[in-house]
Symmetry: C2
Subunit: 552 residues, 2 copies
């Protein structure tokens, strides 16, 4: 037997944490950091080269902490390796411009996607990898364990017990990785209460949080899932009707996730009208994984929705959600509990269908929202928009996609791309090659940032019709099916009318008339709510839209 | 605009919870249920037809609560829909025999797998579905939201703050689903403390737990991951050598999950000897997702292991883990934090390789541990043992499996089946048809309970050699490659020596000599520890094996 090596120290991380906490002890009072001292405190407990998780979240932002970190002295803090689920704030990239940070691992970049591209080209920033949310969380427990985690909540007590309320979102998955590996966890909150009993509830236990700091202003939170019904066009309604008849009803879709486009908002808004006329209430669309979309209010009020589990919150929906605990996940205090990690899991493994939109689809069905000059990342769509090979339970919709009599045949998750054949500005959605391929080459990425791969897509739905791609027996056939619904785009121009007729009669594609969908009925009068004001009325005044949506 | 329906009540679940809590109020003192009153309490707060989650966990058992539930009066409690991740206790099935429960959703059944089969045949039990762990957790947030959750921990205070310590395991994922949907959460603990400060730490906040009860004896916890090195045979060592040279070294495997067989224990035990000789320390096998395997101790002590994140605990490893916080995830109190949901996610999305064993593999590479008369379920292997289509980040090992120059080509997760060609008792591992196919027919299951599908397997490793299945260009070629390493089993007898020679020279398969692995070196002297006593010695006396493993 070999001999153990006796001299190794096995608690270097813990000792280092204690060393840093000692440095911070003169600034903090117990766990509480004075608001004005946050920059000095971050400089004290962070070290050059650290892996720092910053809750740049899809919605909730630890923005007081990110601004403070960006104000640090680059002579003291430099070469940080930032792990940011969603790069959404100007200061997230200021960190790189100022030399405080060097390397970036992330999942999504919205408004900052152009700047990331530029910084990468300018050598200001090195990208570790672009992930989906849950694979980024996963790596925090494997090879990207953090030294420091910066998170955000509504309230905390002086023991660090944290109330994150409706905006729990990414926090638990991020915090646990540091709390149990001798990392340092700092939470910004809008308010620190003296009495723990003044917290509405505890979302994250105080023993996981090392420090709390009251922010200079409430954390920023973005309403990303609010779609004004005024902007829904008849073409969206036509497509929504096709989705309901040709996909939801046909395959018996019970549980689902909707993307955030006007297409899917139209589906939500015609369930209480068109869906009701078809007698589908209580038969389809009962269980949802999505943020509290305001456009779902009429369907909820009409009794369509059994439950909604949410990734995150939606500004303005707080009171409505709290008043509908039979539908939404809420705590004993009444406010919602969201959890992005669990909802992404549910969206991957527990729902029948994912339906979303995209900017570009190629002839094979590969799609991406990455376009030249924009490294927008993935978010969660690739997790929900693929057929999870680890799934082992069956549902009627999942089984309905089996096209073989092999005893080992499996069902499939329904992955629907719902797009108009042309984008705003006349750009074709169906293209010869998606920009993502060139972006990968330009940026030296090891693989093209494809959002959803063609072989995962089961249905393509356009204003022309539905291609039932899961029925394709070859790549060639899949291409023909896509071309048949791609309108007058370059891909659509390839289609051969004779083949299209044959594919219609074979059930490979369906036009509105094949589904019993009447184009004349596709008007805005089918919308259960036609404006934000209508949504407020449906909600009994409980929905409180953010100012920028208040046009009435 | 349609009019909202004004009369609906939106808090029926909350009202029902309050009604039940009122029934239990005469029994409990605040949140504390007297131990002797647990049956009456369960009868009070549970209703016929409820969905009840019971922490039958892979290791930790809420066994006081399951025994109490099985003692309930079937006239009061009947037709429960049980959701049990791991059906492991006799009383889990007594519930069905006594008519208290009717329907079962589960993920894994070990010792109870035969009885489930019998009960199903006898009509005593109806199966919802057989899941993997994380898809079962996922459904708790979609269509299987629970009315009651029964969980277990070490300690609680009177406010319900729960210390689950090294055995946190399934609890957070199960509890959250009820805590935030007006379900009732009851936790059994070994000890109730008066002062919250007497809890080592808080793993689940008190505001999520409705009731705590001190159990009559400490919760049962099974050491499932302990393998006695005495039982490792030279053939395991030969296969372990091939794994290290032909897979780990070749593909640059940094992060991985090991199954629980003697094969993978052999790999763990020759890293400090054979792996060291090859100069691989610090180059491979740095990040692990697995329970604290005792056979990993020598590799940890020799400095091979950067980190281990765990699904659950392992009896006897508590002190060792607590003394190695640089390696294991531990809390400020020193004890480990496991988390099955997060570790399953990490094992799915954040590691390069999964390697495991199985009982049967067919000629196409499909495998299962389900055999006739045993409905053993899936556990977590299908999640880790597939190529997750939602993955978007690259690692060297993942990229190394690309076999095409298509710019849209993706890497793959390494999924390795490591099996001897014959099982104990001379049963062939490689078979014409896996029993799972017939079991599905006999039990009326909608699909065959396949553990890992052939198209997800990248490597098959036997004592004969390695088949690099990811290189197969057709199903036919995959079959030939499998046959070439299947020895003298019915599948192996199909192989054609001339083809085998060609496949060796094409790099599709490799025999030990092709890998530079010397059969003569494959002896037990290569094991860093040859017995449980050796493991204890390596651990500096910190590892404390359960009595049944103490043979010295």
């Amino acid at each position: 037997m070999l001999n153990p090596i006796p001299e190794r120290q096995w608690d270097t991380r813990r000792a280092e944490k204690r060393r840093r906490q000692a440095l911070g002890a003169s600034i903090a009072t117990g766990k509480v950091i004075p608001t004005g001292d946050i920059v000095a405190f971050l400089e004290a407990v962070t070290a050059p080269g650290d892996r720092v998780v910053l809750e740049g979240n899809n919605q909730k932002q630890a923005d007081f902490l990110s601004r403070a970190l960006a104000d640090a002295d680059p002579a003291r803090l430099h070469d940080l390796h930032m792990i940011i689920p969603s790069v959404s704030r100007v200061e997230h990239l200021d960190l790189f411009e100022r030399g405080i940070a060097r390397k970036l691992d992330f999942a999504y970049a919205g408004a900052q996607s152009v700047r990331i591209s530029q910084f990468l080209a300018d050598g200001l920033l090195e990208i570790g990898a672009i992930h989906t949310y849950i694979e980024l969380y996963s790596r925090l427990y494997v090879d990207l364990t953090p030294h420091v985690v910066l998170t955000a909540g509504y309230k905390a007590d002086r023991q660090g017990n944290l109330y994150t309320g409706p905006s729990t979102e990414d926090s638990p998955a991020l915090v646990e990785a540091a709390a149990f590996r001798d990392g340092i966890v700092i939470a910004q909150v809008n308010e620190i209460v003296d009495d723990p009993a003044d917290l509405p509830r505890v979302d994250i236990p105080g023993s996981w949080i090392d420090y709390v700091v009251q922010s200079d202003k409430p954390f920023f939170c973005e309403p990303l899932f609010t779609r004004d019904p005024r902007l829904i066009k008849p073409v969206h309604i036509l497509m929504a009707m096709m989705a309901i008849r040709g996909i939801y009803e046909r395959h018996n879709v019970q549980s689902l996730n909707h993307g955030i486009g006007f297409n899917t908002a139209a589906i939500e808004l015609i369930l209480p009208t068109y869906g009701e006329q078809l007698g589908l209430k209580g038969k389809i669309c009962k269980y949802w994984t999505l943020n509290p979309h305001p456009t779902l209010i009429p369907a909820i009020e009409s009794g369509w929705v059994e439950s909604v589990h949410s990734f995150g919150s939606e500004l303005g929906m707080e009171d409505y959600v709290a008043a509908r605990p039979d539908v939404f996940f809420t705590g004993a205090d009444g406010s919602m509990r969201s959890n992005r990690a669990l909802c992404q899991l549910a969206g991957q493994y527990a729902v029948d269908l994912f339906i979303g939109s995209t900017l570009q689809i190629d002839g094979d069905g590969h799609s991406s929202t990455v376009t030249r000059g924009r490294l927008s990342g993935f978010g969660g769509a690739p997790n929900m928009g693929h057929n999870p090979g680890g799934r082992r339970h069956a549902t009627p919709a999942w089984l309905d996609l089996i096209e073989s009599d092999d005893p080992l045949a499996r069902g499939r998750k329904l992955v629907v791309q719902m797009v108009e054949t042309f984008q705003a500005g006349g750009k074709p959605t169906f293209v010869e090659s998606i920009d993502a391929v060139q972006v990968a080459k330009d940026s030296g990425m090891p693989l093209a940032p494809v959002m959803i791969y063609g072989d995962d897509v089961t249905h393509v739905l356009t204003e022309e019709g539905i291609a039932y791609l899961y029925k394709a027996r070859s790549l060639e056939e899949r291409r023909r099916m896509i071309a048949a619904v791609a309108g007058v785009t370059p891909i659509g121009m390839r289609h051969d009318p004779a083949t299209t007729r044959q594919m219609r009669s074979d059930g490979l594609i369906a036009l509105p008339e094949d589904l019993g969908v009447h184009r004349a009925q596709a008007t805005r009068s089918l919308l259960a709510a036609k404006s934000m004001a209508d949504l407020v009325e449906w909600s009994g005044g409980l929905y409180n839209p953010p100012a920028r949506f208040r046009s009435w």
